[in-house]
């Protein structure tokens, strides 16, 4: 049984083909990175796996269950948690109340305060989330997924736009996850990718261009051309 199986997914927005017959499978406990140029359909793929977006055709299985027709909240209840590329938090509530909302739906016995005690943001627990810095909000984005104690986590560019130091904090947070949790991470920062991922899927124009382990991806000529090369140019 796979943690995720994406079968032959196609998605168009008007005339724009965002995903083209895309198939992908990820084993339980795997740490998988998805990389690819901007606008190549990575977030769209996450939205389709979580049920926010309906595919035009194709099927999605989560832990062997066909979830193609299930609504996002049903999928969440199967143990599927996600973070968003753009901060999507309860901005007018305190950090503590953000965590409380996540605990409440899971009927968890855990107390928000006890949970937060284990994390760097503990001392900010009573601050309204909109008053936290961007980097701290990025951490809350991750905490809201962590507190659900999911079996499967989809992380959409968790370190996007944060400083180097904060990026390290966030990477460490992800590394602290129990080994049996499946993690799929979309990430542009190759250092983070090579730190976290066992396997890497390279998307290009809505299709899987290449899939392999770190070394294979690092040295693959086309991948270098299309993605790693382009990223380096961007950095300059």
């Amino acid at each position: 049984m796979k943690a995720i199986e994406v079968k032959d997914i196609t998605k168009k927005y008007g005339g724009l083909k965002v995903l083209r017959h895309l198939s992908l499978s990820i084993a339980p406990g795997e740490r998988r990175a998805i990389i690819g140029p901007n606008g190549t359909g990575k977030t769209t793929l996450f939205n389709i796996i979580t049920g926010v977006t309906k595919p035009d055709s194709g099927k999605i299985y989560v832990f062997g269950k066909n979830v193609t027709r299930l609504s996002p909240y049903h999928r969440a209840r199967l143990g599927l948690a996600r973070t968003f590329q753009r901060n999507n938090l309860f901005f007018n509530l305190s950090l503590l109340d953000n965590i409380n909302l996540a605990l409440q739906v899971n009927r968890s016995q855990l107390k928000a305060k006890d949970f937060l005690e284990n994390w760097a943001l503990y001392h900010r627990k009573n601050v309204k989330v909109k008053e936290l810095s961007y980097g701290e909000q990025r951490q809350v984005e991750l905490l809201l997924a962590l507190v659900q104690s999911p079996r499967l986590m989809l992380l959409d560019e968790p370190t996007a736009g944060v400083s180097q130091g904060e990026s390290r904090v966030i990477t460490e947070m992800i590394q602290r996850l129990p080994r049996e949790v499946t993690v799929v991470i979309i990430e542009h920062d190759m250092e983070v990718v090579f730190n976290l991922a066992d396997r890497i899927t390279v998307l290009n124009r809505g299709q899987v261009l290449y899939e392999g382990n770190r070394e294979e991806v690092r040295t693959h000529p086309t991948v270098k051309d299309i993605y790693l090369g382009a990223a380096e140019e961007e950095d300059i």
Binding site: P72, Y73, A76, F84, N88, F90, L93, L101, V105
Partner: protein, 327 residues
């Protein structure tokens, strides 16, 4: 001003404000004439109505533009039952609320899928459909003549409701009951989850919340509360016409919520009272009171973003922090 600020910000025993509200509302009728009493009664009825809408606007974050529908259909239900010979208060109350809630669930299933401005437009359209129905279905609703001469209930209550003072206390009991019930609701897990929807519906879904179900529940709750207000209203005025279902009425309730302070329970009540008083004062001098309403609305948006109650709440909290800093 400083003394007042100090008073409202000092530590008080729990239930203090509940006591103040209850005692004030119990005693208020004795300081007024019959005109004042009538205004007070109306303020409480509209206060209930506005609190109901605030569950949607201030807590769930859904600006519904057909709130008058639920108020109106419940009032019509009471009127139609009265014409059919029903004089019992509880029967009318139960039917009025039930019709509002059922209608809200049916409408909700249709409109709650859409959000933002679409939701506002669709609810407005449905509200006007019900308005047109009341206008056209003359045999049941009396058309534009409405249903006049609805007497106060004869059975089910310990005292004769023809007495306006007794009726005021009847309304007060319901007002306090609704206030307490909604207070409990917004502080319950369910209440906190609808605030989560206002903050971010997609995040709520990602956490595993059935947000559609929650919104439907909030919609039905708001409709039920408004249905209660509708029954009290029709017994109070003895008359119901399509105007009570019109969008102008829905707009008025929205104004009450926003001017008073959305997202608080007492805010909408204060908004209702302020608007009713002004409406009565100004309309005795000029027909242009909607103009004044507009001016007040603009003033609120400029100087009291969170409504009148929000403004005082800020003073109160500001005062508290001030004390905290000194000690």
């Amino acid at each position: 001003m400083n003394l007042i600020r100090k008073f409202i910000s000092c530590q008080k025993p729990p239930g203090f404000w509940w006591g103040v509200i209850t005692v004030t509302l119990l005693l208020l009728p004795f300081g007024t004439n019959s005109y004042g009493l009538s205004l007070l009664t109306q303020a409480l009825i509209f206060g209930i109505l506005a609190m109901g809408l605030d569950i949607l606007i201030g807590y769930t974050g859904q600006v519904s533009f057909n709130h008058a529908t639920f108020f109106g259909v419940s009032a019509y239900t009471t009127g139609i039952l009265f014409y059919g010979g029903c004089k019992n208060f509880w029967l009318a109350l139960g039917s009025g609320i039930a019709v509002s809630v059922v209608l809200a669930i049916v409408l909700g299933l249709l409109v709650l899928r859409s959000g933002g401005p679409y939701f506002l437009m669709i609810t407005l359209a449905f509200g006007q459909m019900i308005f047109a129905l009341a206008w056209r279905w003359r045999s049941l609703t009396g058309g534009d003549d409405g249903l006049p001469g609805i007497a106060r209930p004869e059975s089910g209550l310990p005292a004769a409701m023809e007495n306006n003072l007794y009726f005021y206390y009847l309304v007060l009991i319901f007002f306090l009951a609704v206030l307490l019930a909604l207070w409990k609701f917004v502080h319950s897990p369910l209440g906190r989850s609808i605030v989560g929807i206002k903050e971010s519906e997609s995040r709520m879904q990602a956490l595993g919340y059935n947000t559609f179900g929650l919104k439907l529940m909030a919609y039905a709750l708001a409709a039920g509360v408004s249905g209660l207000a509708g029954v009290l209203y029709v017994y109070f005025t003895g008359f119901i016409s399509p105007q009570e279902l019109n969008w102008t009425m829905s707009g008025l309730i929205i104004l009450m919520v926003i001017i008073g302070g959305a997202g608080t329970l007492l805010g909408p009540v204060i908004g209702a009272a302020v608007i009713l008083v002004l409406q009565n004062l100004i309309s005795s001098y000029t027909d242009r009171w909607p103009l004044f309403m507009g001016i007040i609305f603009v003033l609120c948006v400029m100087y009291a973003r969170n409504g009148i109650f929000g403004y005082f709440l800020k003073l109160y909290k500001g005062g508290k922090n001030h004390e905290g800093n000194r000690s």
